[in-house]
């Protein structure tokens, strides 16, 4: 900014001309400095945006280097076909299936809770509840999403499991069932919130059109609102699955650390994330095979969730294109 007095005390035309000239060149200089400063600021802003790309590159680089070392010692065929995972034992097997099955099983249980309840809650909030009620209930429901996962782990292990044991006596202390149920409740607000956003984006005129044709509220919801917001709802569902697969603390606390290949939700199992936690808790030396296994498992986890995330993003973009 120029600090020159705007009206200088000038008397003669020569003085006036000199003053104007000084003002103009001065402004030019100030302008040049400002432009320079702003281009520096702009490039700093750009660099900050690039940090996110650097993060992804960092993740892929870290994961792939150690995974590469891992697959120099263990064959990819074994990794994908062996049915045992025992890298911490003397007789080592490196089949990802026990970990992957446990992950998918607990995610499936969580989805059985989170998807129907989340969708119902979204419909309730967006179509049935008055805006006033929704504005009170929604933030409370979202507290569920803000509770740290370690707290859910505590709840699953020390409240839900003992409670379920009263009805299912053969339930083990660590099991997939209570971990999955609690995880489902944790993910419910995510599904509800994203689905509700999608439903709110459906133009009111579509609902009114259906009502005018004689549809009841239920028919408007199921035949107009849900189909119109389907891509948003699908995006929410996919993101919820990705969340469940990557969830760590609930399963590390309440599901146990026994890598076994089973679909029985009443016994202890170990998910991919729980395995990473288990190894990280011990002091594994850098470069050892155990150290490399967590990166191989991490890579598997990263690839699965990334595919789901990108899929969800595609669906979300589609729903945005329609109504914005």
């Amino acid at each position: 900014m120029t600090t020159e007095p705007f009206l200088a005390p000038v008397t003669t035309p020569a003085e006036r001309r000199e003053w104007i000239l000084r003002l103009l060149t001065g402004t030019q200089r100030v302008d040049r400095i400002r432009r320079l400063r702003e281009s520096i600021i702009l490039s700093l802003l750009f660099l900050s945006a690039l940090i996110s790309v650097a993060t992804t590159i960092g993740i892929i680089y870290t994961l792939s280097i150690e995974t590469f070392h891992f697959f120099q010692r263990v064959s990819l065929i074994d990794f994908l076909t062996d049915t045992q995972w025992t890298p911490l034992f003397t007789e080592k097997h490196f089949g990802i299936w026990p970990l992957l099955t446990a992950t998918l099983l607990v995610s499936a249980i969580a989805m059985l809770v989170a998807l129907p309840l989340g969708l119902l809650a979204a419909i309730g909030l967006s179509e049935y509840a008055s805006p006033r009620l929704a504005s009170i209930v929604k933030p409370i429901l979202e507290i569920l999403a803000g509770v740290p996962t370690v707290v859910y782990g505590y709840f699953a292990l020390l409240f839900v499991t003992p409670l379920l044991k009263r009805f299912i006596p053969q339930l083990e202390v660590f099991n997939a069932l209570s971990a999955g149920l609690v995880m489902g409740i944790m993910i419910l607000p995510l599904v509800a919130s994203l689905s509700e956003d999608a439903m709110r984006a459906v133009p009111q005129s579509l609902r009114e059109g259906a009502y005018a044709l004689g549809a009841t509220k239920l028919e408007v919801v199921w035949r107009v609102v849900v189909p119109s917001s389907l891509s948003g709802i699908v995006a929410a569902f996919i993101l919820a699955i990705s969340r469940a697969i990557g969830e760590t603390m609930i399963v590390a606390i309440a599901m146990g650390q026994v890598p076994r290949l089973t679909l029985n939700p009443l016994v202890a199992m170990e998910t991919m994330t729980a395995y990473i936690v288990q190894v990280s808790l011990g002091d594994t030396p850098h470069g050892s095979l155990e150290y490399q296994t967590i990166f191989a498992v991490g890579t598997t986890l990263f690839l699965i969730t990334m595919v789901l995330n990108l899929l969800s993003y595609r669906f979300l973009q589609r729903f945005r294109e329609v109504y914005e």
Binding site: Y154, L158, G246
Partner: protein, 298 residues
């Protein structure tokens, strides 16, 4: 067209309006039930934790270091560690996140690179937190040789919350009406001056709210810090950025994984403190939003 042709249709179509309406009501009850299940679980969870942990809460609990004897164990080192992590993450992630958001929302040209950055950020926001932990081990702990230190943990968590801050800040910037920008430009302000003096102040409540919620996420995270090897038994408070540290969620996890019930009570006590801190944060976010929003109206 005679009446005769229309009649059969009339006969076939029975509106059954009463049944359809009843079904609708039933469905409304179902959806209310879904919400009630969520809220009840939240209530049960809080009641359970408070019941288990209420009696361990005392000044000693807050100011004692962890101990092998449950009755003496406290959360001092964890509380201090959480506080340091919070400050560091705020210092690192807030400016970077807001800067990235400003670039993407106000300056970025519509090209391939911008599209890549956008997809990338939305993917990063959903990458499992434990993968950030692996990144932290590989890059900060090993490559940068920071060891299992406070700064390594803070950097890892900063990368974790960065996408959340960026997304929230972008939403806040997007909510500023274009007329504000046009007014700034029309007055002769440069693009940056417009953003700096007109758009940013208007978006600040939203940006701050998003940042506070992101910080709340950071202090609740456990998995990435376990992965980078934050010590679970730390009987001192870190004196420098390169000291080992522990945080509340890790101390809680440590106590949960012990077999003795007395440690589980300590864990519940720790959870009450953690939830209280988070509640404080959420309250602050709501307060800030309400207060700052009142001042700026379009």
């Amino acid at each position: 067209m005679t009446a005769h042709e229309v009649l059969p249709i009339d006969r076939e179509f029975t509106p059954r309006l009463a049944l359809r309406k009843r079904l609708g009501t039933l469905f409304g009850i179902l959806s209310a039930l879904a919400i009630i299940i969520g809220l009840t679980t939240l209530g049960l969870l809080i009641a359970d934790v408070v019941r288990d942990g209420w009696h361990v809460l005392s000044w000693d609990f807050l100011t004692s270091y962890p101990s092998r004897r449950p009755e003496q164990a406290g959360i001092r080192s964890a509380l201090v560690g959480t506080f340091y992590i919070l400050i560091l993450v705020a210092i690192i992630a807030f400016p970077l996140g807001v800067a990235a958001a400003i670039y993407l929302e106000e300056f970025a040209p519509r090209n391939r690179l911008t599209a890549i950055i956008e997809v990338n950020i939305s993917n990063l926001a959903a990458v499992p937190s434990i993968v950030y932990g692996l990144l932290g081990v590989g890059v900060f702990v090993r490559t940068f040789m920071l060891g299992r230190s406070l700064i390594a943990g803070a950097l890892t968590l900063s990368l974790l919350v960065l996408p959340i801050i960026i997304i929230a800040s972008r939403e806040a910037l997007r909510a500023v009406p274009p007329s504000i920008r046009e007014a700034g430009l029309a007055l002769g302000a440069s693009h940056w001056q417009t953003v700096r003096h007109f758009v940013l102040p208007a978006a600040l409540p939203g940006i701050l709210t998003g940042t506070i919620l992101a910080l709340a996420r950071a202090i609740g995270e456990t998995a990435p810090l376990i992965t980078i090897g934050a010590l679970t038994y730390v009987a001192f408070t870190p004196k420098s950025l390169f000291d080992p540290f522990t945080v509340l969620p890790i101390q809680i996890f440590n106590w949960i994984s012990r077999p003795q019930a007395a440690f589980h009570e300590r864990a519940a006590g720790g959870i009450i403190v953690l939830l209280a801190v988070l509640l404080l944060f959420n309250g602050l976010a709501i307060f800030l939003r309400a207060r700052l929003q009142r001042r700026i109206r379009f």
